[in-house]
């Protein structure tokens, strides 16, 4: 299980790296060349050359916020009354575990949520168990327990306001939040 997850994590990380942010940044810089230099030929900027973006570096440089990176995915969804992590969400957890293991100063909080059905306090505990399930998998994949706090909102902070299965499904969730975000 652990090996499979590691493999998945690696594959997803590789996939993320395939779209290197440098090319996009370079293109932006070229577009921003001042009009006062018309004689300059509009030659493409070589990837990896010395041109530096002026204002886009921070955002695009953070893999946690790159929409193309799996690390930008932060939610794990659960079945009713269940805190079992489904296979489809394991790559997301694996990617965050890998990131945390490589960035030991980063801290995350995992927030468990439930749908509105049932006791508020029992749901608070169920949300906690969902968050803990995500934490355990991250620890298994190399994140340190010190980097992760798990808390629960239970049914108290629903993302979807409805009272139907679609809303409930959206609310049975654990969210991964990095400290400072």
């Amino acid at each position: 299980m652990r090996r499979i997850l590691m493999g998945v994590a690696l594959a997803t990380l590789l996939a993320a790296c395939a779209s290197t942010p440098d090319e996009q940044e370079g293109a932006k810089v070229e577009e921003r060349l001042p009009a006062a230099q018309p004689t300059q030929p509009a030659k493409p900027v070589e990837p990896g050359t010395a041109t530096k973006p002026l204002d886009t570096g921070r955002v695009a440089g953070d893999p946690l916020k790159d929409p193309a990176n799996i690390l930008s995915k932060r939610s794990v969804y659960f079945d009713y009354d269940s805190s079992m992590v489904k296979d489809e969400f394991k790559p997301i957890i694996a990617a965050h575990a890998k990131y945390l293991s490589q960035n030991r100063s980063r801290r995350v909080r995992i927030e468990g949520n439930t749908d509105e059905r049932g006791s508020r306090e029992y749901n608070l505990a169920l949300g906690q168990r969902r968050a803990d399930a995500v934490k355990q998998m991250m620890q298994l994949l190399g994140a340190s327990p010190d980097q992760i706090e798990t808390i629960s909102f239970g049914e108290e902070k629903p993302k979807a306001a409805g009272h139907d299965e679609a809303a409930w499904a959206e609310n049975r969730r654990a969210d991964i939040r990095y400290q400072g975000e």
Binding site: S119, L124, A125, Q128, D132
Partner: protein, 437 residues
């Protein structure tokens, strides 16, 4: 935190032929209406009682007898006998023509008068009489400021209730609950009939699980204002509050020990949700009471402080268990269905109320400890958070109508049901306060 008084008006609708209550309605100032109490069903035997308007009460800022009538009606155990056509209305025993009242079927008669004292306060005197035996069952006088007139009426209703039913009255108690208005949460405290609601805590984050200290002076609750659940204790006297459980992870489900000095709470500081004992002033280190690999939550002390009921899914589904208050071996108590949660001891310790899931519905049920007999008391879609009246006769709970939270109450024998509705907002998490001497 801010304090604010919300003006209420009281509107009562009597069903099943309880028409005399319309008289009470007519006498209520319209500007205070925000709460509706609907009575559904009635007690097996209703005591016919005539409550005669007190002398000089019409000029009062708050009339007395409509409040007494409404309280007694709400219990479902009384039937109001109309005093219409009796002239003059008696206010002293010497003025009573007992035959008039026995002819109308009254088994109890209440008369009284109000005197304005030189300092502006009022003296309210009342007598409870038995028209058949022509004897006085109770007679008391109260001194009250204008602001205390409602409370005085509730206290008179308590005396009448106790004399005629043999049970302690709980009309002069208070309740707490959470109102959600848009994105705003308010923890409110109100009289048991919904009047005099005051917001004791306002927050932009959820508030859940309010719980009264045994002496009624403090509330413990869970607030999410720190972006995680933290247990606070707040004084209703000073308004000051303190985080008493704010450990790593989640902190929730506060339950007072009967001594008022300790709280059982649920912490995740050591991993999964487990029950701990802490000091109510937040001092010291938590003592862990449960040691399971499952969810243990919703602790509730027995009235004698010896036992704790709680919800656990250690058997695969959430069920109710009991254990010694010092921790130790737990015994499973519920076996019907696969979702039994939120246990609350009855004040006499002989039974417990809880929430049972039946199909997709959640209902309030009661289980007797001795016979293990279970009775489902409500038939709503989502009924939760049961809380006993301090005399054990009624159970206050949260329900839902049209997707909006309301409060409701059911008698512990299931015969009488009330619906308490606030016109604005989503109301949930009720807790009935203790008897305050």
């Amino acid at each position: 935190m801010r304090t604010q008084a919300i003006p209420y008006h009281f509107l009562m609708r009597a069903l099943q032929g309880l028409m005399p209550i319309l008289a009470a309605l007519a006498m209520t100032p319209a500007a205070r209406a925000a709460l509706t109490i609907e009575i559904i069903g009635s007690g097996a035997k209703q005591i016919p009682i005539a409550i005669v308007q007190f002398r000089a009460e019409q000029g009062l800022p708050q009339q007395i007898t409509p409040v007494i009538s409404a309280d007694l009606q709400r219990s479902g155990l009384f039937r109001m006998i109309d005093a219409g056509g009796v002239n003059p209305l008696p206010t002293e025993p010497s003025e009573i023509n007992y035959g008039t009242w026995t002819a109308r079927g009254a088994e109890a008669l209440v008369i009284g008068n109000v005197i304005t004292l030189p300092d502006g306060r009022y003296e309210v005197r009342f007598r409870l009489l038995d028209p058949l035996k022509q004897t006085q069952l109770a007679g008391l006088a109260y001194t009250a400021s204008a602001a205390q007139l409602r409370l005085t009426a509730h206290k008179i209703a308590d005396v009448i209730y106790e004399k005629l039913t043999g049970d302690v009255g709980a009309f002069s108690t208070r309740v707490t609950y959470v109102v959600k208005r848009g994105t705003r949460y308010e923890l409110q405290v109100a009289d048991a009939d919904g009047y005099n609601a005051q917001t004791v805590l306002g927050s932009n984050e959820p508030i859940i699980s309010p719980s009264w200290s045994p002496d009624g002076t403090r509330l413990a609750y869970v607030s999410f204002e720190a972006r995680k659940p933290v247990v606070y204790v707040q004084s209703l006297v000073t308004g000051q509050r303190q985080a008493v459980a704010n450990f790593r992870g989640s902190n929730s489900a506060p339950a007072w020990a009967p001594d008022g000095k300790r709280l059982a709470v649920v912490l995740t500081r050591d991993g999964n949700s487990q029950i701990y004992l802490i000091n109510a002033d937040g001092s010291g280190t938590p003592t862990r009471l449960t040691t399971s690999a499952s969810i243990d939550t919703e602790p509730n002390f027995s009235p004698d402080g010896q036992l704790i009921l709680f919800t656990s899914d250690r058997g695969g589904s959430p069920q109710i268990y009991g254990m010694p208050a010092s921790g130790g071996a737990a015994r499973r108590l519920t076996f019907e269905g696969n979702y039994n949660v939120s246990p609350r001891f009855s004040p006499d310790g002989k039974s417990f109320a809880f929430v049972q899931r039946n199909g997709g519905r959640f209902n309030i049920a009661i289980q007797d400890f001795a016979s293990r007999q279970v009775q489902v008391l409500t038939d709503g879609t989502v009924d939760e958070s049961p809380s006993f009246a301090p005399n054990g006769r009624m159970i206050l709970y949260a329900s839902t109508v049209g997707g909006r939270g309301i409060l409701a109450a059911v008698s512990s024998d299931g015969r009488v049901r009330q619906r308490l509705t606030e016109t604005a907002g989503d109301v949930r998490e009720p807790a009935w306060g203790p008897l305050v001497k």
